[in-house]
Symmetry: C2
């Protein structure tokens, strides 16, 4: 490897490292801020013991224990599953607004659809997909131009690699 190639490789690596480390630090600050916000401002999320497990550039993973969220059949309660998906997709909208440096106090769900495919028999894990960079850029543009933007967010509750619940919600962010 020539010295020039080595140097270029090193620059690319350090940019990658910087972005990675930057995401890890900012991400963990945001997770802490989000977790505190949910438990302090939305008491039901604390009663349900909803926790933020992971947030990366692809998804947000949230969790809730089965015991508090159980139903009469010994599986997860439909209301808990619905709440998990609604708050997880809301959280994704909030995280996006934070990353766009908009500390919005007004993010609301306006409609949602849930489809319950299989009962959940263990602790509930909810996977919320981060919208694409293109979609986020459109949101940023609308927020700048109009002061509000809507976005579709999808969450799924998955157990043993099988989808138990599918969710799609429409959220509105206002500056």
């Amino acid at each position: 490897m020539t010295e020039i190639v080595k140097a270029r490789f090193s620059i690319i690596l350090s940019i990658y490292d910087y972005n990675f480390i930057h995401f890890i630090i900012i991400g963990s600050i945001l997770i802490k801020k989000l977790q505190d916000k949910l438990h302090n401002e939305i008491p039901l999320t604390k009663l349900m013991n909803i926790s933020i497990e992971e947030y990366n550039e692809k998804e947000l993973i949230t969790k809730a224990p089965l015991d508090i969220n159980i139903n009469d059949k010994g599986t997860a309660f439909g209301g808990s599953l619905s709440t998990m998906t609604i708050i997880s997709s809301w959280s994704m909208s909030w995280l996006i607004s934070q990353e766009l440096n908009i500390d919005s106090k007004n993010i609301v769900v306006i409609k949602n659809e849930n489809s319950y495919k299989k009962p959940v028999t263990k602790d509930i894990y909810c996977y919320t997909i981060k919208p694409s960079i293109d979609e986020i850029e459109k949101v940023a543009k609308k927020l700048k131009e109009k002061g509000s933007a809507s976005l579709k967010i999808k969450s799924s509750i998955i157990e043993d690699n099988e989808t138990c619940v599918d969710f799609e919600g429409v959220y509105v962010i206002k500056v």
Copy 2:
């Protein structure tokens, strides 16, 4: 009024009275049984302090206090509103199964849609429409023939005569 007309009128009145009194007694026993079932078997309904307010031939009215079910904006949390509608429509399915003398242990929501039109600023009141006699008869026939039946139930959260949330869910009852 002739004696015959008087007698007929008295019979009609007593049948009406009987049905009315029968509904009041059976209805209040069912409300108590439902309230106990929810709080004992689905802990989140107790944590949310959901109560059964009224059940008649037209609707089921349920309630939950705002304070436990509040969000970061000081209005009712979307997850609580969704849970209220899901469990209220589930309760209607359970009440129907009880009235058909089927003590089903297997009633589940398979899909639902929520539309959030206005924020809820006070205690949450949810109104769940009882399906028509025709619809209930179809359910009874399917349960008898196939051992399972699905039914659509609608709930609305109303405040000051205005609809804040509309819900439609599909439930499956199995014998």
